[in-house]
C-alpha cells in the first residue's frame, strides 16, 4: 500500500488538492473562499499535467545542433528529454485559469459593492429568496 502511494505520489497530491478544492467550493459560505477553492482545483490539474510530462534526469527538449538545412541527422533518444507537450498545454491552461480568476474577482468586487457582503446567505436574504 505504502509503495503505491510513494511511487505514484504525484497522483496522490493531485487527488488530494482536487478534493480540497471541490470541498471548499461546495461547502463554504463565503464567496471569496469558494473562489480560492476553485483556484486550488484548477492548479491541482495543472500540477498533474506538469508532473506527467516530467522525467527524473530528463533534459530540456531542445535538439543540439538546431534544425534547418544542412544539419546532419542526429539520433534523438526520447527517454532523455522531458515531454514538452503537457507543459505547453498548461501554459494555455494557466492563462485560462488566470482569466477565470480575473472575471470572478471582478464580479466579487461588484457583488461587494452592491450588497456590502460576500457571505452567500446574507446576499440571498437581501435578494429575498
Amino acid at each position: 500500500m505504502l509503495e503505491i502511494i510513494v511511487s505514484k505520489y504525484n497522483y496522490w497530491i493531485f487527488v488530494f488538492l482536487l478534493i480540497i478544492g471541490l470541498y471548499s467550493m461546495m461547502t463554504k459560505n463565503n464567496l471569496m473562499k469558494k473562489l480560492i477553492g476553485m483556484n486550488i482545483f484548477q492548479w491541482a490539474i495543472i500540477l498533474y499535467f506538469i508532473s506527467i510530462g516530467a522525467k527524473r534526469g530528463g533534459s530540456v527538449p531542445i535538439i543540439p545542433g538546431g534544425h534547418g538545412h544542412g544539419v546532419q541527422k542526429i539520433v534523438v533518444h526520447a527517454t532523455g528529454y522531458v515531454n514538452p507537450l503537457p507543459h505547453v498545454l498548461m501554459l494555455t491552461a494557466i492563462v485560462v485559469g488566470v482569466a477565470t480568476t480575473g472575471i470572478a474577482l471582478a464580479i466579487l468586487v461588484r457583488i461587494y459593492n452592491s450588497y456590502g457582503t460576500l457571505e452567500e446567505d446574507e446576499i440571498m436574504k437581501e435578494l429575498g429568496k
Binding site: K34, Q42, P86, I103, I107, R110, I111, E120, I123
Partner: protein, 503 residues
C-alpha cells in the same frame, strides 16, 4: 482561394472584430453595431459555404498553420459540425440585429461596446467548438465561450452578479473535469487529435484509466450543457441576463454542449464503448427522462416568463439527450432535428420575452392582460413558438418529437415513450397558461381595477426587434415543412455510420 479558408474565417472574423469593436467603442459607440453585423455576416456566409461544400464534397480537413495532424491543430468539418455551426451563426446574426434596440434600453450606455465585444467572443468560442477536431483546442474554446457568457450574464439586472458567480463555479468545475479527462486520454494514447484518438482507443477500451477519462469527459460536458441534476446554474443565469444575451446563449450554448457530447461518445469513443462496455447511454437516458419531467414541472410553477423558459430549456435538453441515449437512427435524427428546433424556438421565445420587457417593463405572466391586443404580431410569433414546443404540426417541434417517439418505439423503451407523451402534456400546461393570461381573461376577475379599458392601442416593438422575432417564427415553420429535406440532405449523414444499417 478564399473558399478553402472558410473553416478559419468562420472563427477568426468574430474574434478579430471583437477587439476592433472594443477599441472603436471608446471613440464612438455608434460604430460598434455595424462592426458586429459585419463580423457575423462573414461568419454566416462562411457557415453557409462550409455546409454547401460538405454536402457537395464530403468532410473538410483544414490544417491550421500547415502543421499536419496529429501534431498540429486540425479543423475537421463533417455534416454534423457544419449543421451545428450554421444554426449558431444564424441565431447569433438574428440576435445581434435584435440587440441594438433592446440593450440600449436595458443596460447603461457605457457598457454597450463591452457587451458587443463579449457577444462576438462568445460566438467565436461557440463556432470554434463546433469546427475544431482537437480535444485540447476544444477545451480552450469552451472556456472562451463560457468566460464571455459569465461576463455577459453579469451585465444583467439585480441578481445577475450572484447568478453569474455560481455559473463561474459550476462552469469551471465542468471545464476542469473535461480537462482531467483530456489528460487521461493523452497519457494513454499520446494524442489529442479526435480522429487519431478515435483510432487509438479501441485497443485500450478495457483500461481503467480510459474508463475514468470517459467519465470525466462526459461529466464535464454534462455540466456545461445543464443536464439534470447538474442544471442548477442555468435558471438564475438565464433569468437575470439582459434579454438579448438570454436569447443568444439559451439557444446556442447548451446545444453546442449537446454537440460536444455526441462528438465524444459516438466519434472519439465509438458507440460500441458508450453503449456496451460502459453503459453511458442507459444512464443518460434515465437522467433525460427525469430532466424532461422535472424541468417541465418547475416551468409550470414559475411566474416569471424568462425563468419559465429557462426551466423549459432544462426539459428540452432532456429531449435531446434522450434522442442521443436511444442510440438508433430515428432517435439520433430526432435529437439533431431537436437541436435545430430548440435553437429557433427558444430563440424566438426569449426574443419575445425581451420584446415584452422592452414595452411593458415586466415579465410576470399573471400581468399579461390585453397583451394580444397591444402587441399582436409579437404574440402571434409567441404562439407559433409555443406550438413548436408542444409539437403541433407543421412546426419543427412536431417532427423532431415524432422522430424521438419513433426512436423510442424502435428501441422498445416504453417508459421513454410514456415520458415523451406526458412531457408534451406538461408543455401544453405551461405554454397555454401564458397564452391564456395574455389572450383569454376572466373579465370579472379584474373588475375591481376598472374592468376592461375601452380601447387598447396597438403598441408594437420597433421593426429591428420585430423582424428577428418573425424571422425565427417563420424559421420554425419552414424547418418544420422542409424537415424531410433537412434530414435527407444533412442529418442522415451526420449520424455515425453504424446506426444507419440497423434501424
Amino acid at each position: 482561394m478564399i473558399l478553402e479558408q472558410f473553416p478559419a474565417i468562420i472563427v477568426v472574423a468574430p474574434l478579430i472584430l471583437s477587439f476592433v469593436v472594443n477599441f472603436v467603442g471608446w471613440r464612438n459607440k455608434g460604430f460598434c453595431f455595424p462592426f458586429v453585423i459585419i463580423a457575423l455576416s462573414v461568419s454566416l456566409v462562411s457557415a453557409i459555404g462550409i455546409l454547401y461544400a460538405v454536402i457537395k464534397h464530403g468532410t473538410i480537413y483544414y490544417h491550421l498553420g500547415g502543421w499536419n495532424p496529429p501534431w498540429g491543430i486540425e479543423y475537421v468539418i463533417d455534416h454534423l459540425n457544419a449543421y451545428v455551426a450554421l444554426i449558431v451563426t444564424v441565431i447569433a446574426f438574428v440576435v445581434a440585429i435584435y440587440s441594438k434596440r433592446s440593450i440600449e434600453q436595458e443596460i447603461p450606455g457605457d457598457r454597450i461596446p463591452q457587451l458587443y465585444a463579449l457577444l462576438l467572443l462568445n460566438v467565436t468560442g461557440l463556432l470554434g467548438i463546433t469546427v475544431t477536431g482537437d480535444l485540447f483546442n476544444l477545451y480552450v474554446l469552451l472556456e472562451i465561450a463560457s468566460f464571455s457568457a459569465y461576463a455577459l450574464i453579469a451585465i444583467g439586472e439585480k441578481g445577475a452578479l450572484i447568478a453569474s458567480f455560481r455559473y463561474i463555479v459550476m462552469g469551471t468545475i465542468g471545464a476542469c473535469f473535461y480537462l482531467i479527462g483530456v489528460g487521461f486520454v493523452y497519457i494513454m494514447t499520446g494524442s489529442l487529435n479526435m480522429t487519431d484518438v478515435g483510432q487509438l482507443l479501441p485497443d485500450l477500451y478495457y483500461s481503467k484509466a480510459i474508463l475514468m477519462a470517459f467519465t470525466f469527459l462526459t461529466i464535464g460536458v454534462v455540466i456545461k450543457m445543464a443536464l439534470f441534476p447538474l442544471h442548477a446554474w442555468l435558471p438564475d443565469a438565464y433569468t437575470h441576463a439582459p434579454s438579448a444575451v438570454s436569447a443568444l446563449i439559451a439557444p446556442t450554448m447548451t446545444k453546442v454542449g449537446c454537440y460536444v457530447l455526441i462528438r465524444i461518445i459516438f466519434f472519439v469513443f465509438k458507440p460500441h464503448y458508450s453503449i456496451e462496455i460502459m453503459p453511458l447511454t442507459t444512464i443518460l437516458g434515465w437522467l433525460a427522462i427525469i430532466a424532461m419531467i422535472v424541468g417541465s414541472i418547475y416551468a409550470i410553477a414559475q411566474h416569471d416568463l424568462k425563468r419559465m423558459l429557462a426551466y423549459s430549456t432544462v426539459a428540452q435538453i432532456g429531449y435531446i439527450v434522450m434522442g442521443i441515449a436511444l442510440a438508433n437512427k430515428a432517435g439520433l435524427t430526432g435529437a439533431l432535428l431537436h437541436i435545430l428546433n430548440e435553437a429557433f424556438t427558444k430563440g424566438c421565445l426569449f426574443l419575445v420575452a425581451g420584446a415584452i420587457m422592452y414595452k411593458m417593463g415586466m415579465r410576470d405572466i399573471y400581468q399579461f392582460r390585453y397583451l394580444f391586443e397591444k402587441m399582436p404580431l409579437t404574440m402571434i410569433a409567441f404562439v407559433i413558438a409555443a406550438f413548436s414546443m408542444v409539437g403541433i404540426p407543421p412546426t419543427c417541434g412536431f417532427f423532431s418529437k415524432l422522430y424521438l417517439l419513433l426512436g423510442a418505439i424502435d428501441a422498445r423503451h416504453w417508459i421513454f415513450v410514456a415520458t415523451l407523451l406526458i412531457s408534451v402534456v406538461l408543455n401544453v400546461v405551461y405554454f397555454f397558461n401564458v397564452i391564456r393570461h395574455a389572450y383569454f381573461k376572466p373579465s370579472e376577475a379584474y373588475a375591481h381595477d376598472g374592468g376592461r379599458p375601452e380601447k387598447i392601442a396597438v403598441d408594437e416593438v420597433p421593426l429591428s426587434m420585430l423582424a428577428p422575432i418573425w424571422f425565427t417564427a417563420i424559421g420554425i415553420l419552414i424547418t418544420g415543412i422542409f424537415s424531410g429535406k433537412i434530414v435527407s440532405t444533412v442529418i442522415q449523414f451526420a449520424i455515425p455510420k453504424c446506426f444507419l444499417g440497423g434501424g
